[in-house]
């Protein structure tokens, strides 16, 4: 290693200080000569003779000098310098060519770097936790649910009995309202078990994390703040520990402050958060009856012991699960689904990102092929220059190097420009990605990205430079010199090579076009499927009632009724409602079991559906249509006969050939009294569960005054005749008028929510479409180049044809035929490749196959039309061939 450094240092010195080294060499040898002369003089030889003798003995000063230089091997560097200077001059001579090539490369290299920086941030960077590879997420799984949350009492058993985790914790999203410090604000918060931060491997910067005592009911009035919240709301007060703050109208004692930049590991249920987005954490209290195990709504996360794999840990958990199932019937039919944290976070976008990288890689490949093609054309034009240089003694390798210097120079210019484009592009890209996209905050253009850019730049330069360089250095000297005078013709081999390159370009472009085509169809399908609600002109906001001040269902129902009655009288408001859930805003797997009067559950299955609560006008406000029966009314109150609304999916599942209206349902196992039954009063349309999927789960709604539990966390929905943004102020005022301690949170337009749910497919479609357009233009340039060159070679032939009676149309057909033939080969190859690669895309598409025949036909048509357009100018030129000149030349 040391020696190499030394060698490098010496070489560098020899090169950087060539002058000095030369003088030193000169002085050194002169010293030797002088000593020899002196010796000769001392031996009694005359002065003149002594010098000559010394020179003779020395044996050729310049040879020795050359040999010494050779030993220092600076020759390469000097040649490289020469090559580069020459390359700059040559590129400057054909500025249009240079600009086209450099811009093409800049676009494709920039696009590659931009996509790579997303991949680097999301996929390559390690998760921001120590030894993150040992973190795993824990879910339940059953026949019906691939992934299901954990329940509290099972968790306690798992935590006590498992032998695979160093530490194991649960957390669940529970936003909470901070009041008493300025305006009330909704905090993005999580309830966590003790040891949650131990699992993640991050410790509070001040104070401590929760202990087991604080998990017990009644002890949980403690809170840990994020660094951000501590600075923003509490002015980074150093005496914050021990201070009491008001959360959901209850006092909480601050016991810790986290360091800045604690990334949330993501959550599968409720609004997904990533990055440094959590404001506060407070203890999860294990309440209720251990025999009932509690509802499933917790997210498990654990740190594996060193050497334990996820599979082993899952097996360990499943043994415990099997044992639990023998004690608790509710635990029957469940197994554990354990997944590494990394996979859980990036899994949903892994394939998308790789597809994008593949697409952008194809663009770069096409750009390379295109540039190689242009260089080949230019090499043909430069044949004479090359032949002259070869005749003057330039070796083949020297010629190749010269040409490579030119292509590398262009690549480096393109790469540099591309790096600039990438830095700007990445910022735009991140702005377009939805907030729920994993690890958005980790996406940056960094050293690795620049390294990647440099690498692809060099690879590109070599790749597109080498073929033309090798090809043209094979120039036949004599022919080159002889033909030089009247403009060289390409050899058959070169023409074939260029045609092959064009075929390659076309086929790659077809692959991209087909990808973009099916993605477009899939996206249109998504847009056109009925969402099940009408998102236009709807304002939504979350208003949560703390259970300390709103203790009863009556109080909750009264609050929302007063609020909504007031809001519905505002000018322009068509409907004002409130409900526990909004479509597409997060997790909605809250399943409730029930019994249907007069129906028997099939063996091994239980009646279940998603439960919600809503006010009478909720459905009208959100735009969910009534199919049968009626909506809720103001008469569905406490004491009145209990009412229930179901969706069509639930109607289809449990009353396949009947009208569900009038049937009765009960939610508790004990013998129901007549007043316990809920009667189905209406059926409403289905709302798609996820924007990317047309499926809708069975679901039902309770009227808020008749809900079995005291849900006090509602989304208010206002439908307006026109732009609803102006209602925001009224809404805030109305809430403040009723209770000034309440926060109005998550104020959004429903069409925004809907648009955001499509933003990932939209941005991927946009990118692939952009890449495909780029690819098609490059292919068009390639076709144009080859055909126009071939036409200029064949002008004489066309002249002859015209002289012999061919019409303009015949000539055009001839030229077009050549272009279309090349393109057709490319299209065939490209579509073949598409069919072979279809499997990669299929899972990302909605309602269309990656082998969609209509798309493939359109792609072929587009490619052929482009080819025809690209060669049309050449074809026109061919018709202008002069028959007289052609005949005269014969």
């Amino acid at each position: 290693m040391d020696r190499w450094c030394n060698l490098l240092r010496m070489r560098l010195r020899s090169w950087m200080r060539r002058k000095r080294v030369e003088t030193e060499l000169d002085r050194e040898l002169r010293y030797h000569l002088e000593r020899q002369v002196e010796e000769n003089l001392a031996a009694g030889i005359s002065a003149g003779e002594a010098r000559l003798a010394a020179l003779r003995m020395f044996g050729g000063v310049s040879q020795v000098q050359e040999e010494c230089r050779e030993m220092r091997r600076t020759q390469y560097v000097e040649n490289l310098w020469q090559d580069l200077r020459y390359a700059v001059r040559m590129l400057g001579k054909s500025p249009v060519f240079t600009v086209v090539v450099v811009l093409t490369l800049a676009l494709s290299i920039g696009a590659n770097s931009a996509i790579f920086s997303v991949i680097d941030g999301v996929l390559l960077k390690p998760l921001p936790y120590p030894r993150a590879e040992r973190l795993a997420r824990v879910f339940y799984r059953s026949k019906n649910f691939a992934k299901f949350p954990v329940n509290p009492w099972d968790f306690l058993d798992f935590r006590a009995r498992n032998r695979s985790f160093e530490s194991f914790a649960i957390y669940t999203r529970s936003d909470i309202q901070l009041s008493g410090v300025g305006e009330p604000v909704k905090l993005s918060a999580f309830r966590i078990s003790a040891g949650y931060f131990t699992v993640l491997g991050v410790a509070p910067a001040r104070g401590r994390e929760f202990d087991f005592v604080e998990e017990r009911p009644g002890n949980g009035n403690v809170v840990i703040l994020s660094d951000r919240l501590w600075r923003r709301q509490f002015g980074a007060a150093t005496d914050i520990l021990g201070r009491k703050i008001v959360l959901d109208a209850k006092p909480y004692t601050v016991v810790g402050v986290m360091p800045p930049g604690v990334d949330h590991p993501g959550n599968a249920y409720n609004s997904v958060a990533y990055g440094d987005t959590v404001d506060a954490w407070y203890p999860f209290e294990f309440e209720g009856n251990p025999g009932q195990r509690g509802p499933h709504y917790l997210e498990g996360i654990g740190r594996l012991k060193p050497g334990v794999t996820v599979t082993q840990a899952a097996a360990d958990f499943n043994t415990i699960m099997a044992d639990l199932a023998t004690h608790y019937p509710g635990d029957q039919g469940w197994t554990i689904y354990m997944v590494p944290l990394y996979q859980e976070i990036v899994g949903p976008v892994h394939r998308l990102l790789l597809v994008l990288l593949g697409a952008v890689g194809l663009v770069l490949l096409i750009a390379c092929v295109n540039t190689a093609n242009l260089l080949l054309a230019r090499a043909t034009a430069r044949q004479r220059e090359i032949a002259v240089r070869a005749a003057l003694g330039a070796g083949r390798w020297r010629l190749v190097r010269q040409m490579l210097a030119e292509s590398l120079l262009m690549a480096i210019l393109g790469g540099g420009l591309g790096a600039l484009l990438a830095s700007a592009g990445v910022r735009a890209l991140v702005a377009f990605l939805p907030a729920g996209f994993p690890r958005l905050a980790a996406i940056h253009v960094n050293g690795l990205v620049f390294g990647f850019t440099a690498l692809i730049t060099l690879a590109t330069g070599l790749f597109f430079g080498l073929v033309p360089a090798l090809q043209s250095s094979r120039t036949d000297l004599q022919q080159g010199l002889r033909e030089g005078g009247r403009g060289a013709t390409g050899t058959g081999r070169q023409t074939r090579l260029r045609s092959a390159l064009v075929v390659g370009e076309v086929s790659l472009a077809c692959v991209l076009l087909a990808g973009a085509g099916v993605m477009l169809r899939s996206f249109l399908n998504l847009l056109h499927t009925d969402a099940g609600f009408q998102p236009l002109h709807v304002l939504t906001a979350r208003v949560s009632l703390p259970d300390t001040t709103y203790k009863t269902k009556d109080a909750i129902a009264r609050f929302y009724k007063t609020l909504l009655d007031g809001l519905s009288t505002l000018p322009g408001v068509q409907a004002a409602g409130a409900g526990t859930d909004l479509p597409w805003t997060g997790y909605d797997d809250n399943l409730g079991g029930f019994t249907i009067e007069g129906k028997q559950e099939p063996p091994n299955e239980s009646f279940h559906a998603r439960y919600h609560a809503a006010t009478p006008d909720y459905f009208r406000a959100i735009g969910i249509p009534l199919v049968r029966g009626r909506y809720f009314t103001d008469r569905d109150i406490k004491g009145a006969p209990r009412a229930l609304i179901v969706n069509q999916a639930m109607a289809r599942r449990y009353w396949p050939n009947e009208d569900p209206v009038g049937w009765r349902i009960d939610f508790f196992d004990d013998k129901p009294k007549d007043s316990d039954w809920y009667t189905i009063v209406g059926v409403v349309g289905d709302v798609k569960d996820k924007p990317q999927n047309s499926a809708a789960e069975p679901a039902f709604w309770w009227p808020i005054p008749q809900q079995p539990w005291g849900f006090g966390d509602m989304s208010v929905v206002l439908r307006s005749a026109s732009d609803p943004v102006r209602l925001t102020g009224h809404l805030r005022e109305a809430v403040r008028g009723l209770d000034p301690s309440l926060a109005v949170a998550d104020v959004r337009l429903l069409d925004q929510v809907a648009a955001e749910s499509f933003s990932t497919p939209r941005i991927s479609l946009f990118l692939v479409g952009l890449f495909a357009a780029l690819a098609l233009s490059l292919a068009a340039i390639g076709i144009y180049g080859v055909i126009s060159y071939s036409v200029s070679q064949r002008m004489h032939e066309f002249g002859m044809r015209v002289a012999l009676g061919a019409s303009s149309w015949d000539v055009i057909r001839l030229v077009m035929g050549q272009s279309v033939a090349l393109t057709a080969i490319g299209v065939t190859l490209g579509l073949g490749t598409t069919l072979a690669l279809a499997g990669i895309l299929d899972s990302m598409l909605y309602g269309v196959s990656a082998k969609d025949p209509l798309t493939l036909i359109c792609v072929a048509a587009a490619a052929l039309a482009t080819a025809a357009m690209a060669c049309y100018p050449s074809a026109r030129r061919a018709t202008s061939a002069d028959p007289v000149a052609a005949l005269r030349a014969e």
């Binding site: 040391d2 020696r3 030394n6 060698l7 010496m10 070489r11 030193e24 060499l25 002085r27 050194e28 040898l29 010293y31 030797h32 002088e34 000593r35 020899q36 002196e38 003995m57 020395f58 044996g59 050729g60 040879q63 020795v64 040999e67 010494c68 050779e70 030993m71 220092r72 091997r73």
Partner: protein, 109 residues
């Protein structure tokens, strides 16, 4: 006169390294010293000596500096580096093995 090509390949390096092991010298002195010590049997020509010196310097086995010579004029003095000393040992060892082998074959004890 013994030309460098008569020297066994690589021997010149050994001679230079060995000579410089005593003290730093300039090219002329190195040539003279080899000549003297070998009792005029080995004559190193400049054509071989200087490229060899430059090569050894590039390898990092020699380090050169300009200073006043015994005649009072500035000359380029070469000095053995640490790496050069290691190299000298290696080459000596090789030379011993080689000469021993040659003696074995030629059969002169």
């Amino acid at each position: 006169m013994s030309k460098p090509s008569d020297l066994i390949q690589g021997t010149l390096d050994l001679l230079i390294l060995k000579t410089l092991a005593l003290e730093p010298m300039h090219g002329w002195a190195i040539a003279k010293r080899i000549q003297q010590v070998s009792q005029e049997v080995l004559q190193v020509t400049q054509g071989a000596l200087y490229p060899a010196l430059h090569r050894l310097e590039q390898q990092g086995w020699l380090r050169a500096e300009w200073r006043a010579s015994e005649t009072g004029r500035e000359a380029k003095f070469y000095r053995l580096t640490k790496a050069g000393r290691v190299q000298l040992d290696k080459e000596l060892e090789q030379w011993r093995r080689l000469s021993h082998a040659v003696v074995q074959v030629v059969g002169e004890a």
